[in-house]
Symmetry: C2
Subunit: 137 residues, 2 copies
DNA sequence: TTATTAAATAATAATAAATATCATTTAGTA
DNA sequence: TACTAAATGATATTTATTATTATTTAATAA
């Protein structure tokens, strides 16, 4: 297993598959989507295992939990980045802008009472698909 | 009731108290915190009513739902702003920077596939209180 | 390679969070 | 003041998440 994660944990099949799935599906899957995806390879995996591992791997810093419209989603992308979020359907995409990260961190230096270590900007709007659906109605 | 919200809804005591509470408590309260707060004035309010109204008022655009560490929180501040988030305790504070909003929106113009209407930057770090607690250990 | 052991899993039970139901009450309007 | 659609409170139901436990497994060392 890639030693990107040198975390001191047991690399069970279940964990490896969950991590692999999330690396191959950058669309911020939900618990159920992870479960369904991983089940294609490990047909006998328990949903409790998925829950426990998503929580565990997040605590260990191998995953990040995000939330759109009250729904938990997970991602394995640790390169600092931003998010494009559709207010209609909840779709979430990664978006890169080194420029914006730098700008934000410069502003962060002036903040008192908090020691800021990272930033991420959410861009809210409507995705192409939803915009086209709305036109048709 | 302030006509800031010209939304076409019934202004029941319950709704007014929930909105008032959230305007007076900008610390992004959870469902339970809203329930406990509002109950001081409306001792007979049902928790289901709090749930239903937080959802309803969010759909109507009078509230915004945010989420820290898997916990839903609500706010009534509609002036575009950013968030300072403590990775230790989950504390969340508003932070204003017109500058950063402008910069982000300029970047948003270049994004394809999404029509962006607003942005908000999250600043992650550690709050004063948590930093001091860590020192002591 | 095999034995050992702490930790992880699967299956299921238990909790907690959120929503639905429905008889009663109420805000907004005539 | 009366009317009515909508909201409420109380509770049941559903869904999401966590805990329990017997069994299995990954990592280590013999």
């Amino acid at each position: 297993m890639k030693p990107t994660e040198k975390a001191d944990i047991k690399y069970t099949n279940q964990r490896v598959e969950i991590l692999t799935f999330l690396r191959e599906h950058q669309g911020h899957p939900t618990v159920d989507e992870v479960y369904d995806g991983v089940r294609k390879k490990l047909t006998r995996i328990s949903k409790a295992t998925v829950y426990k591992n998503l929580k565990f791997l997040t605590e260990k810093g191998l995953l990040e939990e995000v939330n759109v419209k009250g729904v938990s989603r997970f991602e394995a992308n640790f390169i600092p980045h931003h998010h494009l979020i559709c207010r209609e359907c909840g779709k979430m995409e990664d978006f890169n802008s080194e420029q914006l990260l730098d700008y934000s961190m410069k502003i962060a230096e002036e903040i008192e009472g908090f020691t800021i270590v990272s930033t991420s900007t959410n861009f809210y709007g409507i995705c192409k698909k939803c915009r086209e659906c709305k036109k048709e109605t």
